[in-house]
């Protein structure tokens, strides 16, 4: 068992401005300590993939970033503002800059695809012109290649299509940071690769910074600029995909064994 964080490549971070800064973050549920001491930085324009076993607190970590869950202690700054000190209005404003893709997509099942995309737009932007709104919806759907699904209900869509619509709904607010909670879980390898490429394309097109929670090594390989391995409530290892994969440390390489 590793006692200290293995930092394989220190020079990856700190070259660009940090958009998310987490220091000594702790969170427990009913006395069960999930996040014990999390320290990490997400730099501008960077894609960070977080690996870790199921139930280790990866989703809890990104939910803390958008203020869905509040940490017990520690500092969590997004765009240099402490989340815990924000009032509801400030938090809502921040949330329009931070997109969140849920593991189960969380599409509003009583609304069509168009209404799903229109919903956050009408409530957050001051745009009232229907033509402009329609244009933005079509643009977001074009980005994910699903313009034809505009009038469909979520129940009529496949798993991969739901992921894409979830992404389009997030993109419509033009966020600076996107948090992906297991974006390729439950998808076939081909669709997983398509979603991973889409994440990369979006980063290139909109210059977003992303945190991607994933078990999918292919997704991690395609999308990551940097990877973190979460273990027992702390980040145990950090580095680029190839560096971690080729690590001589047995514990790290065990995450990359496919057989």
């Amino acid at each position: 068992m590793l006692k200290q964080k293995i930092n394989i490549n220190n020079d990856i971070v700190n070259t660009q401005e940090a958009v998310v800064q987490i220091e000594h973050l702790k969170k427990s549920f009913n006395g069960n300590s999930v996040l014990k001491d999390i320290n990490m930085i997400l730099s501008e324009g960077e894609n960070v993939v977080i690996l870790g076993k199921s139930g280790i607190g990866k989703s809890v970590l990104i939910k803390c970033i958008v203020g869905l869950i509040y940490p017990d202690s520690g500092s969590l700054k997004v765009f240099n503002k402490e989340i815990a000190e924000m009032n509801p209005r400030e938090l809502n404003t921040l949330r329009t800059k931070v997109g969140f893709i849920f593991q189960g997509n969380a599409l509003y099942d009583s609304m069509t695809v168009k209404e799903n995309l229109e919903f956050p737009l009408r409530r957050n932007k001051t745009i009232t012109d229907s033509h402009i709104i329609e244009g933005l919806i079509v643009e977001a759907l074009e980005n994910v290649g699903l313009v034809d699904a505009i009038d469909k209900m979520p129940s009529e869509l496949s798993g991969g299509m739901k992921k894409r619509i979830g992404l389009a709904r997030t993109l419509i607010l033009k966020p600076d940071i996107i948090l992906y909670d297991e974006p390729t879980t439950g998808l076939d390898p081909l669709t997983s690769r398509e979603i991973s490429s889409l994440i990369l394309n979006i980063q290139g097109k909109y210059k977003t910074s992303s945190i991607i929670i994933s078990h999918d090594l292919n997704c991690a390989k395609i999308t990551s600029n940097r990877m973190l391995i979460l273990h027992e409530g702390v980040i145990r290892a950090e580095g680029k995909f190839d560096e971690l994969k080729n690590s001589t440390d047995e514990w790290i390489s065990s995450y990359f064994k496919t057989d």
């Binding site: 939910k63 958008v66 869905l68 809502n92 404003t93 949330r95 329009t96 931070v98 997109g99 969140f100 849920f102 593991q103 189960g104 969380a106 599409l107 509003y108 099942d109 919903f119 956050p120 409530r123 957050n124 709904r169 997030t170 607010l173």
Partner: protein
């Protein structure tokens, strides 16, 4: 001496038993108080959001339409049977006292003052309350409410305010509808054992009704509607533990709403009695 030591020991043992008092038996009370506190805070949030834009008038109209239209057939059938049965059950006693002609008046007072509002509210608690509890509960467990939260949209405003307002304004309308259908049921029942023309029946029924019969009965229906809406939304909004939690949310929405209806009715009856005494 030995006896004294025994006494000391037994006293000690008694003290220890007192120190180790089992507080777990108060857990249900604690849970109940927590629930009351949570519901009060939720209702407080509702009133804060009520006056905060954006005003979701489209969603309010949609919910009102759904709530009103979906319950119309059920309430119609129940109200008709209620009027019919109430008249048939009351008739023998009225005949015995030679007061058969008072039957329309007596039944109409019973329906307008008590049975109509309470039965309609209970039906709505079952149908609407479970619907809201299950809908919001499933939205919670599938993270749709969280998705609204993280997109900077206020789910309280969109989901809760619209539904609570819809139940608050629709239930009084449904009660009026229920009362009217019950009157028709009464008219049919009266005519099963004799003949009375419809204008005469209406005349007799409304002759017995007074302003203080109608006014408190109408006011309390707004409270019934509010209670059904807020309790169902609260149970659904904070549902947890997956699909099992959705079922529990729907179930407890119905149970607590029904209980709240009887408590509100009790308070309303007492208050209207006091007001009636002072106004005489």
């Amino acid at each position: 001496m030995k006896l004294n030591i025994k006494k000391i020991f037994s006293k000690k043992a008694a003290n220890e038993n007192q120190d180790e008092f089992d507080f777990s038996r108060f857990k249900n009370i604690e849970r109940f108080l927590n629930e009351i506190g949570g519901l009060s805070r939720f209702a407080g949030n509702f009133f804060c959001e009520l006056f905060r834009p954006p005003y979701e008038h489209k969603e309010f109209l949609k919910q009102s339409y759904n709530i009103g239209l979906s319950t119309l057939p059920l309430i119609g059938i129940t109200a008709f049977i209620m009027g019919l049965v109430l008249t048939l059950q009351s008739r023998p006693v009225m005949v015995e006292f030679g007061a058969e002609s008072w039957l329309p008046g007596m039944v109409s007072v019973s329906i307008v003052r008590e049975i109509g509002p309470v039965i309609t509210a209970l039906i709505c608690a079952g149908k609407i309350g479970s619907g809201i509890g299950a809908e919001l509960g499933s939205m919670r467990v599938t993270e749709q409410i969280d998705a609204m939260d993280v997109s900077g949209t206020n789910p309280m405003n969109y989901l809760v305010v619209t539904r609570v307002l819809a139940t608050t304004f629709m239930i009084p309308i449904l009660v009026f509808y229920s009362d009217a259908i019950s009157f028709f049921g009464t008219y049919v029942a009266v005519n099963l054992h004799g003949f009375i023309s419809f204008p005469l029946f209406i005349n007799q029924a409304f002759d017995s009704l007074h302003y203080y019969d109608l006014f408190p009965a109408t006011i309390k229906t707004y409270f019934f509607g509010f209670a059904i809406g807020i309790i169902s939304c609260y149970k659904g909004y904070y549902s947890e533990n997956g699909t099992e939690g959705v079922g529990k949310a729907a179930n407890s929405a119905v149970v607590i709403s029904s209980l709240a209806i009887f408590i509100i009715d009790l308070i309303a009856v007492q208050l209207s009695e006091i007001i009636h005494i002072f106004s005489m």
